[in-house]
Amino acid sequence: MATPLARPQQAAPHQPPPQQHNASPSDWRLADDGPAVRVRNFTRRFGDVTVLEDLDLEIAQGEFVALLGRSGSGKTTLLRTLAGIDPAPGQQVLAPDTRAVVFQDARLLPWKRVWRNVALGLKGEGLRGAGIRARAEAALTEVGLDHRLDAWPATLSGGESQRVSLARALVRDPGLLLLDEPFAALDALTRLRMHELVLSLWRRHAPAVLLVTHDVDEAVALADRVLVLDAGRIAAEERITLPRPRAADGAFQDIRARLLRHLGVDAGHRRAAEGALVSFPSGEIVA
């Protein structure tokens, strides 16, 4: 891929307008052309522990946002709230009706063949019979797995499982795609291939994306905007306008160093600290 890539079109026609969920005041609504996600003054506590405090977040339609943070910084909590897995009653959280999650572990149902796992993503769309299979097949073709339609999940490699998981998420054309460290368990080369795949799928389907990761290079390579979550708040924000695919050149390294500083790592001593905070692969491989 040699040409610089344009931003995806805003507000693809198939996306329904964002809807309010998790209950909040009625005067608080989003317009059709407004952001895909809006979170205001969001606070989340588990017992005495405050995980997120007074957090504000907006994600435009079709925007690719990466969320960085140390372990326990509340990244996953925020993602789960947006996914509707951890409902937050009485809080101001707006997200599209059609959301899909890709987890770090692919979470395919081992007793359903690959295409049926993808078809799970179509629940509630009222499709029947051949229509479901055709949609699942199309989604699997997009991720390059049209030859594994009838395979059992147990026979897939880690990368293949994650691609099925991506197909399952995208088969419903979600307005919001939530990625919870989806590549953390993959080897470095597979991970790079997955990055390309995610970008091409994002261009085609144009969902808003929230990628939770602790890999700074991954965030800089993929996102329009990188947020650093610290102590329950967004501590830093970095907008990245570099054309994709992004080589690990000077500008890339500058952004990377700034983000690492926000995460409490001095880029000058990056090597020593890398093991603790920044996961493999290092920026040099991203080319």
Binding site: A83, G84, I85, R99, A100, V101, F103, D105, R107, L109, P110, W111, K112, R113, L120, G121, K123, G124, W152, P153, A154, T155, R168
Partner: protein, 269 residues
Amino acid sequence: MSVVAADRKPVRFRLPRLRIRGGRWVSPVLLLLVWELGSRTGIIPERILAAPSAVAETFWALSVSGELSSNLAVSLARALVGLAFGLAAGVVLALIAGLSRTGEVAVDPLMQIKRTIPTLALTPLFIVWFGIGETPKITLIAAATVFPIYLNLFSGIRGVDARLIEAGRSFGLTQAELIRDVILPGALPSFLVGLRYALGVSLLVLVVAEQINASAGLGHLINNARDFMRTDIIVVCLLVYASLGLAADLFVRTLETRALAWRPSIIKS
């Protein structure tokens, strides 16, 4: 850093290897030969144990006369009807306890209490309640098979990977769809383990239940044979019980390879 001594072979004791294919048959066949020899020479009197050849003859005679098959059918029907009741009750109770906390609180303590009472100890009570006809026999089998089904299905339901349920929820599956697509298939392997136990238990209890004044069935055959000291008939019936056990096991295994085709161990084989 360490150097592995390559020239030292591990010393292992080995029995001399039998070069016959399927060497596992040898010892049972030897036993049969010794048994036959003992009977022929009169070391083993017939009233203690009939010779294998006599057992085979009796087996043939009973099969030809239809006596064996008709009694077998009666016994099999008892086991299956009892098992069907036990299975149904076990599945229903496990679903109630497994799928809701209230259900668990209501059902599980009772089942645990029931578990502490050996089912066969209920025999006298069942005879008092249900007489000596078919009812106590079937009830006994049903009561004994409920527990393996209940326990395994219940723990199977509770053991379903919570991350899969969460994933299902994130895709908007309704509660009914979650149960059908995620929870029940996830609990199926445990259920089949329970079914295998239940089949075994049903045969075990059948043997005891059939001693209650049966007028037909394998137990009836054995009781009559005992009265006339026909050890050959008793052995034939024991063999039939054994093959029932084998058939039950084969049945569940076949069921497993079909229903659990997605399991890595089955995919490989």
